[in-house]
Amino acid sequence: MDKVPHALQQHLQQLGLQFSERLRQELPQLGQQARQLLEVDESERERLLQNLRDQLHRLAGSAGTFGFAQLGQQARELEQQAERWLERLLRQQQSLNEFISALQELGEQPAIASAPQEPSDRKRKQPRNENESRHIYILEGEAAVGENMRQTLSNFGYHAEHFNSIAGLDAALQQRLPDALIIDAKLPGEASCGLEYANQLRARLEDPLPLLVLTDQQDDFATQLQAVRAGAMGLFSKPVDIPQLESRLERCFTQQSGEPYRVLIADDDQDLASRYSLVLRDAGMLVEVMHDPAQIFNHLRDFNPEVILLDVNMPDCTGPELAQIIRCNDDWLRIPIIYLSAETDFGKQMNALIKAGDDFVSKPISDNALVATVFSRAQRARLLSDALARDSLTGLLKHGDIKEQVAIELERALRSGDRASVVMLDIDHFKRVNDEHGHAAGDNVIRALANLLRQRLRRVDSLGRYGGEEFLAVLPDCTPQQAKLIVDEIRQRFAELHFIADGGEFSCTLSAGIAGTDVNSNADQLRERADKALYAAKYNGRNQVQVAASEEHRG
């Protein structure tokens, strides 16, 4: 499910375009039909309403599939209204007028006016096209500040655009929704301040966009509160430390781009299990139902759930017993186990929890409560297991994991006959940064380089933090000469980044060494050759990229 074949994606996109074309024709017709409701007699009105209801029903079912979630929701509500009319519950002229104008507005949504690049809610669920950079819109009244931010974010590999005015941003939003917004809290010369505008925008958009807010002074609590209410995920005071802002952006995107959560349900009551499964699937999760407790490890292995829902009272093996069996195996320790039970005896609940398991949910449970419970547990579990495998400062692979990745890629390269390249990268004079600007500033530099590398390298490339200020990357299907072009571009962009610390503004450079795979070297030797090339780069005066000597004449 991870990789969607390109052709399929294109095909689906094509169907999405056809659908939005259809909407452009059908929605205005709905409005026209609605207007006729006022002009016709009672029996004709009934027929028209039935017709409208059926069309709305169809729209409610289809729009979401093509990414128009909000439109689908609106259609569903209007369908229910039409239904109520048909049942002769509502016949007042006034509400009929409201219904008609609601139908007319349906066709005037900005989302439909222009064909979607990609349906907005599918963007969350699907892996992004790796070659497409993220779009960032910046709304900043001070031209110099905005332009500087645009330039720096472009260096990081984002597609950033800067707007001086609300009108300019509004026009751009009509054309295309960005992946994130950066808005100045104060906008001198505009009718509304930046945060008010952000609030309006939030109400207007189908899915809220990740929002970062710039302020003059960060410690103003009222502004902070207003920003959070407008949906801000980050608040930055001027002058803005852009690498830090970039790392926050990256975190917003990681949270957003998750795969659906996987939930395993074990319940001997088949109807109830299907019911839960339906509710959770409706909330966008992947659900597997199992009935035979003996199969638990097969399900765990094949489905790899992130949350397990266990019925307490199963005939052959109780929930707590099954939970203990799962907990006996170290591989599945990180998966939260939630009991489902009609048991309301507090003592018995506690007893079950002490043996194994993490939470209790009492049947009957409302759909919303079930979704919320499972969702929060799944979210937490995923964050934790991600954190365990990744370096806490950079979010990259840790020393051991990236070394293993180099070995895997080397093997793959030898099998396929393609050449892979290994890159060793080190920040120049890093100790000086720490000494002169403090460790927090040093951490910022490391994080910025990590993010820059992540942005510029391909999805197939693996990247890890090898040591303090040292990074290791492996680039499959890439010759050392090609790798040199890529890494050298990263080197230049890194040198252009400006960092802000108590000691003032500063910038850093990096050196890198590259070695390509060959039949004679194993993973350790490959890394050593890259390391030697890195040493040569340092020796030659730093701020440069060197390819291991034996590679030069091979081409």
């Binding site: 399929l8 689906l12 259809r22 029903h57 599939t65 093509f66 569903r76």
Partner: protein, 128 residues
């Protein structure tokens, strides 16, 4: 246990029909016969021998439940597992569809990327 290969999909909305066909064929690797109405399904299903039937509930003319009733009268289709597709998912309605002989309900709107695995799961709940 037979394998899930052929799926009959009855759906009057051409956009949904197209996207489901792509999703089931390209992702699931199934063979799909798409029909725009219950009548069309009755006319064309002979000879296709579907392993699974997906029925839209609300269709003009012959609706999903009525189509199911008539399909069931055909030889070979008495026991073919069926799922309804519908936007309405009140628990009582799901029970109602079950009582009509449907195995499960697929909620609209559905995610094209998930449809094939959803169908496969409903299928294996019966056969697994």
């Amino acid at each position: 246990m037979t394998e899930l290969k052929r799926i009959l999909h009855v759906e009057d909305d051409p956009s949904i029909q197209a996207v489901a066909k792509v999703a089931l064929e390209a992702i699931g690797g199934f063979q799909v016969l798409s029909c725009g109405s219950g009548q069309e399904a009755l006319d064309q299903v002979q000879g296709f021998a579907p392993d699974f039937i997906l029925l839209d509930v609300m269709m003009p003319g012959m609706d999903g439940p009525r189509t199911l009733e008539l399909l069931r009268q055909l030889v070979d289709l008495e026991r073919t597992p069926v799922a309804f597709m519908t936007a309405k998912v009140q628990p009582s309605e799901v029970d109602h569809y079950r009582s009509l002989g449907a195995r499960d309900v697929i909620i609209k709107p559905f995610d094209p990327m998930q449809l094939a695995s959803q169908v496969r799961q409903i299928w294996s709940e019966r056969h697994g």
